[in-house]
């Protein structure tokens, strides 16, 4: 067991290093002088040379990469080219906003999606099932930013129920904070609620057809017990896995939602950094996002390893 864990941890580190390498490559290996990209389309040759020198871009690539890795491991993620502020500190300041957005959205999509999926699975083919499937189909097919704009127009602009995109710190009042986030929460949650409803439904239907469930029914067990104890419990694991992955991705910043609603979170940070060719900030945000995803993957793998004896046997 411990050897498996140790190996998985080692692979995590490898994957993270590869993530950094890929980002580096994108910025440097693509034809075009990176200093040119950073200095801008309209920069003069002198400016470009200055930029190269100032940012240490005249060093050979492996050295730059190595230097970045060593510093990053010690918590020094460099300074933004644009704001000259420390990258990690800036990211950590933006993170609570992304966290606020994610947290509320997660609560809503779980409360909406999973019960809807359960109900659909319990009554397949009913009016409820059909309408849920239509609704979720729309939810997963609509562009999130467009839904956000429509909501803003209807509920914020026309009806005046919500502010027109903004962000209020939690410290300035819980109600104000939530009030500003309701529309972004719902926009984000709509997409995921759709997936989760469908997943829940599919999983429960699959399990319901399995032999041991049929046996339980045949034995005359109360339907509620069967559904609750057997079907739903087992459908839970893949859902939890999905939840972990989705949350990890969202921690990397929901660029579109944050952009439409003006939320100063990681998504906006990453987006601006990429447009401004702010390499340290790009590396920082990508690494930050990747960290969550890799850790989430790790936890999921360990969970499955611990729970499913078949995997244990296979890997030993």
């Amino acid at each position: 067991m411990t050897s498996y864990v140790a190996r998985r941890l080692a692979w995590c580190v490898v994957v993270l290093v590869m993530v950094c390498a890929i980002t580096f490559v994108i910025f440097f290996a693509v034809p075009g002088n990176p200093a040119q990209l950073i200095a801008g389309k309209y920069a003069t040759p002198e400016t470009i040379a200055l930029v190269e020198k100032r940012l240490g871009l005249d060093q050979p690539l492996p050295i730059q990469f190595g230097r970045f890795l060593v510093h990053a491991a010690y918590g020094d993620w460099g300074f933004s080219y644009v704001s000259q502020q420390p990258v990690l500190a800036t990211i950590l300041t933006a993170f609570p906003k992304t966290l606020s957005l994610t947290f509320g959205a997660v609560v809503i999509w779980l409360l909406l999606g999973i019960p809807a999926g359960i109900l659909s699975a319990l009554k397949p083919g009913s009016i409820w099932d059909r309408s849920t499937m239509v609704f979720t189909l729309v939810g997963i097919s609509a562009p999130a930013y467009w839904i956000g704009l429509v909501f803003l127009r209807v509920f914020a602009d026309r009806m005046g129920w919500f502010p027109l995109g903004d962000y209020t710190e939690m410290g300035q009042g819980l109600l104000a904070w939530a009030h500003h986030l309701v529309l972004p929460w719902i926009t984000l949650a709509l997409l995921y609620a759709g997936w989760y409803a469908r997943m829940t439904r599919a999983q429960m239907l699959d399990i319901a057809r399995l032999d041991y469930v049929r046996t339980a029914y045949a034995k005359g067990l109360d339907k509620r017990v069967v559904v609750g104890r057997h079907i739903f419990r087992n459908a839970l694991l893949p859902l939890v896995t999905m939840l972990g992955m989705d949350v990890a991705y969202l921690f990397g910043g929901a660029v579109l939602t944050e952009s439409v609603f003006g939320i100063p979170g990681i998504g906006g940070l990453a987006w601006r950094a990429i447009r401004m060719r702010d390499l340290p900030m790009v590396m920082g945000t990508v690494l930050f996002a990747a960290l969550f995803i890799v850790v989430a993957n790790l936890i999921v793998d360990l969970l499955y390893f611990a729970l499913d004896p078949r995997i244990q046997r296979e890997t030993s």
Partner: protein, 300 residues
Amino acid sequence: MTAARRFARDRWALTGFVFLALLVVVAVAAPLVVGRVLHASPYRLGMMDKVKEGGRLVDVVSDGGIPIGPSASYPLGADLIGRDVLSRLIYGARVSLLVSTMGTLLAVLLGLLVGLLAGFYRGTVDTILSRFVDAMMAIPILLLAIALASVLPQGNVWTVVLILGLVNWTYLARIVRGEVLSLREKEFVEAARALGANDSVILARHLVPNLVGPLLVFGTLSMAGNILLESALSFLGVGIQAPTPSWGNMIQEGMAFYSVAWWVVLFPGIAILLTVVSLNLVGDGLRDALVPGSQERIGL
């Protein structure tokens, strides 16, 4: 019952398919439809034009900069600089469909290649490739796409195709690898080996044909995602650039005025919605037709 027959019996999948077929026809015939039938243009600005509405002459774009809404001469309204939204929607379909299809094809090719190699050869090759796939999947798709867009020549349709391909193949590679892993243990592969066939023959002749099913399903669903991704990139300004119309950049252009000109934002969004819904329906239908019993579906 053949897969095709099963597909045809699925009402919803069929509806989706019909919509897509119509869309493709209209998109391909765009110049004909827009030019001859509608007598309109996706590029012609009508800033100082006036049209007859309800007996009066009305500005296409008012003095306050507000364009005309859905009306007789502009069925879906005009955009902020007086261009016909319907024409741009149709031309936008061309761009979005072309880019998403090519992007999906590229992703399928890359995913197929990597998945085959990883699944068939296993061992070190598999480990390295799988870790690489893990690493690429650890970067949020949108960030990766934006990063690539900012370093590649902007505004080029082929740039967007390349980005869509590079960003999506990992998902397919994993699926292909999984399928290959299970397929390679099957008897027909062993039989082929026993007959002395070499690797590439086995790959090409025996494995790939069995992959067509899953590839078709996931390709379709992947295309749905690509339409959304392309529109997101164009919305952010790093995808298809103006004046080439794309459903995404139409929404972005109209965003500042959505409070007074809702049609510029609403209709492209509906177009995306309907197309992606159709693709999802077709994808689901394909999955049910090709792999019966994989998911019990009634109605949808």
